[in-house]
């Protein structure tokens, strides 16, 4: 579970101070799906970086399962990312010189998993995203959708408790976007992940349980749209969500 208390992140550009996140207090329960919408430059990606320990807050605290991420030394923070947090990026961020299997395997290297065990887990992860037959392909030999599936497999191969996705469908066409959305929802449901997803896409945001809107560094939570799914629960149709103010 995430507990954010009065979190702020300020960037200093010369004499100017830019507040990317301001006075944010938020609780994200285990297994919850939170979608964050908002216009460009209003702090969505910054919030995701703070939740993932990729950046430290200027003030306030961010606790993950009772551990304050901001207070951890870098080595321990890196360990938390290795074990508990999976990332999915808009531009996939695959290592261009490694195959799909090797990209997925890269997520297991910090955990010290043995070679045989790594191979088995990589194969299972690729199979779960429908890419078992693309294991040996380089990113340049795959479509955008296949690359994003590989990135999802990489994020999930270490069985994290949290999945952070930054515009996962931003670079995909409509059909592929739907495939990825369906895949994410399936995996979220099956694994009980805590999923925080940043998106411009309202139709994607509607799939989530909760929707928040970032505006000028402040998060406004919409009314919760649907309850958390139990194990084996069927799909709950999303409730309508108002688009964020212009």
């Amino acid at each position: 579970m995430y507990q954010l208390t009065s979190v702020a992140k300020l960037y200093h550009k010369g004499r100017r101070t830019v507040p990317a996140v301001q006075d944010l207090t938020l609780t994200i329960s285990d297994g919850q799906w939170l979608a964050v919408q908002g216009r460009t430059g209003h702090g969505k990606s910054t919030l995701l970086n703070l939740l993932g320990g990729l950046d430290r807050p200027t003030s306030g605290t961010i606790e993950l399962d009772g551990t304050s991420l901001g207070a951890l030394p870098e080595t321990r923070l890196t360990r938390v990312r290795a074990e508990k947090i999976g990332f999915i990026f808009q531009t996939f961020n695959l290592i261009p010189t490694l195959s799909a299997a090797e990209n997925v395997e890269a997520a297991l290297i910090p955990l010290g998993v043995g070679h045989a065990d790594r191979a088995a887990r990589v194969a299972a992860a690729l199979d779960s995203v429908g890419l078992a037959d693309r294991a040996g392909h380089l990113p340049t030999e795959m479509s955008g959708g296949q690359q994003q599936r590989t990135a999802i497999a990489r994020a999930l191969v270490k069985e994290p408790t949290v999945l952070l996705a930054d515009e996962p469908t931003g670079n995909l066409d409509e059909d592929t976007r739907d495939e990825i959305i369906a895949l994410l929802e399936k995996l979220w449901r099956e694994r009980g992940l805590t999923l925080v997803l940043v998106t411009h896409d309202s139709s994607l945001a509607r799939q989530a349980q909760r929707v928040g809107v970032m505006g000028n560094g402040r998060l406004t939570i919409r009314q919760d749209t649907r309850p958390a799914p139990g194990p084996g629960s069927s799909h709950v149709p999303p409730a309508p969500v108002h688009d964020p103010p212009a």
Binding site: S45, T46, N49, G52, L54, D55, E74, T75, T78, R79, R81, A82, E83, F87, F89, Q90, T91, N93, I95, P96, T97, L98, E102, E105, A106, A107, I109, P110, L111, R154, K158
Partner: protein, 483 residues
């Protein structure tokens, strides 16, 4: 292994850049190897010349002052000289006979004699391990053919054929102190203490070949015909050993025991007599560190003599060997250093640029939970692989450069001071000797190790700069660089 796979793929992706960096390192390292091989080759050449003439690095040589013929010879002193028409004359203006079919021999000492008692005194100096006396001689001859003989005329007076060679009288109780110490025994044996009174000789292999000598052969030294047609029979020696000596070093051709040398015609009596005297003292210092002190003490013991060590004479060596040494040590060394620095700088800049381009990749790895030092190890591994390739190419380039340098400059000349001038009466030695010194440029195992270390150090240095950038990279900033 994931590490090796990632490394290999990344180097393949930026193959051109990796080759460029490796070649730069190879060029710098190759220059270092070539210059070092040239410097070592020149130093060896100088050392061979000096050790042949003057002994090993711990040898100190004492040489008597230049021998000067007295202005007035003692009454009854026999003199002999060639006449302009090929005669043998008892003195300028004295009785002459035809030289046809005869040989005129002169044995000269080059330096003033030093009492043998001084040899013993020098041996007792602190820091001296051993001392031996020697007599450096020059036998000069002119031979005239018999009248009517078809032998071609020579370049000596009256068409005589000049000849001669340097000789050395050796203390048989210390045979390897002195020029004989630099020789290599080819057949037979060297002198022992038991040969002190014997008429035995050790000859140079070239001299043996030109005179048809082998072990057991005989040669006569000092044979000459006087104007009254009496013959100085000289002394007959038996060859007991044949030695090889450094090519072009112009060492003595014949070595005889010291006592026998003192009994040779011309040296037993008269102004050139060396009875109870030697012309050189060879001292072996206990260690190289003792050489300066020994040099000072013996100079104090023997004023008026010339005291030299191998390091003193090294500065006197002139000729193209010195020019070559200067070229290798000064210009060559600085050029190699500059090229190496440039190679290191280029490698560092390219590595840092590559790290910048891969910022998003490294940010992603950090997001996946890779520790900074693991990422640094990956970058250093890539640099190391490039450095090893550069080292291999550099060693190959250096060996090729050394071979080309040796082929282009097969030998250089070395000019060194001799043991002194002749007595001016006949065919004496020149004040200096110019010898051809073969130049052997070889790349030693130590040099190869140095080359590898230099290339690897350069590559690691380049990787270190890149690593420094990685360490400072914040994941969020790195990820924001995704296009």
């Amino acid at each position: 292994m994931f590490f090796v796979t990632y490394l290999r793929r990344e180097l393949r992706r930026r193959m051109r850049q990796a080759i460029f960096v490796a070649l730069g390192l190879a060029l710098g390292v190759g220059l270092v190897v070539t210059v070092a091989a040239a410097s070592a080759g020149v130093a060896r050449a100088q050392s061979r010349v000096l050790s042949t003439l003057y002994g090993e690095a711990t040898t100190v040589t004492v040489t008597g002052g230049r021998w000067q013929e007295p202005s007035t010879l003692p009454k009854g002193t026999d003199t002999i000289a060639p006449g302009p028409g090929g005669e043998i004359c008892s003195a300028p203006g004295g009785t002459c006979v035809s030289g046809d079919g005869k040989t005129l021999t002169m044995i000269d000492i080059m330096n003033e004699g030093i009492s043998v008692a001084k040899v013993a005194a020098a041996a007792r100096l602190p820091g001296v391990a051993a001392a031996a006396g020697g007599i450096f001689l020059n036998e000069s001859t002119i031979s005239w053919p018999k009248k009517g003989a078809s032998t071609a005329r020579g370049s000596g007076p009256g068409g005589g054929r000049p000849g001669g060679y340097p000789m050395e009288g050796v203390d048989t109780s210390h045979p390897t102190l002195g020029p004989l110490g630099g020789a290599t025994l080819i057949s037979g044996r060297l002198f022992t203490a038991a040969d002190a009174d014997a008429h035995v000789a050790v000859v140079d292999s070239g001299y043996a070949a030109s005179h048809g000598l082998r072990i057991g052969s005989h040669l006569t030294l000092g044979l000459t015909t006087w104007p009254d047609l009496s013959i100085i029979k000289g002394i007959r020696f038996t060859v007991i050993g044949i030695v090889g000596q450094a090519a072009g070093s112009n060492p003595p051709s014949v070595y005889v025991p010291l006592k026998a040398a003192q009994e040779l015609p011309w040296l037993k009596t008269g102004p050139s007599s060396v009875q109870g005297r030697v012309t050189n003292i060879y001292l072996a210092a206990a260690s190289a560190a003792d050489v300066p002190a020994v040099t000072r003490e013996v100079a104090r013991l023997l004023p008026g003599t010339k005291v030299t060590s191998a390091s003193d004479l090294a500065s006197e060596v002139a000729g193209s060997v010195t020019s070559f040494a200067k070229l290798a040590n000064d210009l060559g060394r600085w050029l190699a250093v500059l090229v190496l620095i440039a190679a290191f700088a280029v490698a560092s800049l390219l590595t840092m640029a590559a790290v910048s381009r891969r910022a998003a990749e490294f940010g992603t790895l950090k997001a996946l939970g890779w520790r900074t030092r693991r990422i640094i190890a990956q970058v250093l591994g890539e640099s190391l692989a490039t450095g090893i390739a550069g080292a291999a190419a550099g060693v190959a380039l250096g060996c090729t450069g050394a071979a080309i340098a040796a082929a282009v400059t097969p030998s250089v000349s070395a000019t060194v001071g001799s043991n002194g001038g002749g007595n001016g009466t006949l065919i004496g030695g020149s004040p200096v000797q110019t010898v051809a010194v073969p130049l052997h440029l070889s790349v030693s195992a130590g040099l190869i190790v140095l080359a590898v270390l230099l290339a690897v150090a350069g590559a690691v240095l380049a990787g270190a700069f890149g690593s420094w950038r990685i360490a400072r990279l914040r994941p969020a900033d790195a990820l924001s660089r995704v296009a």
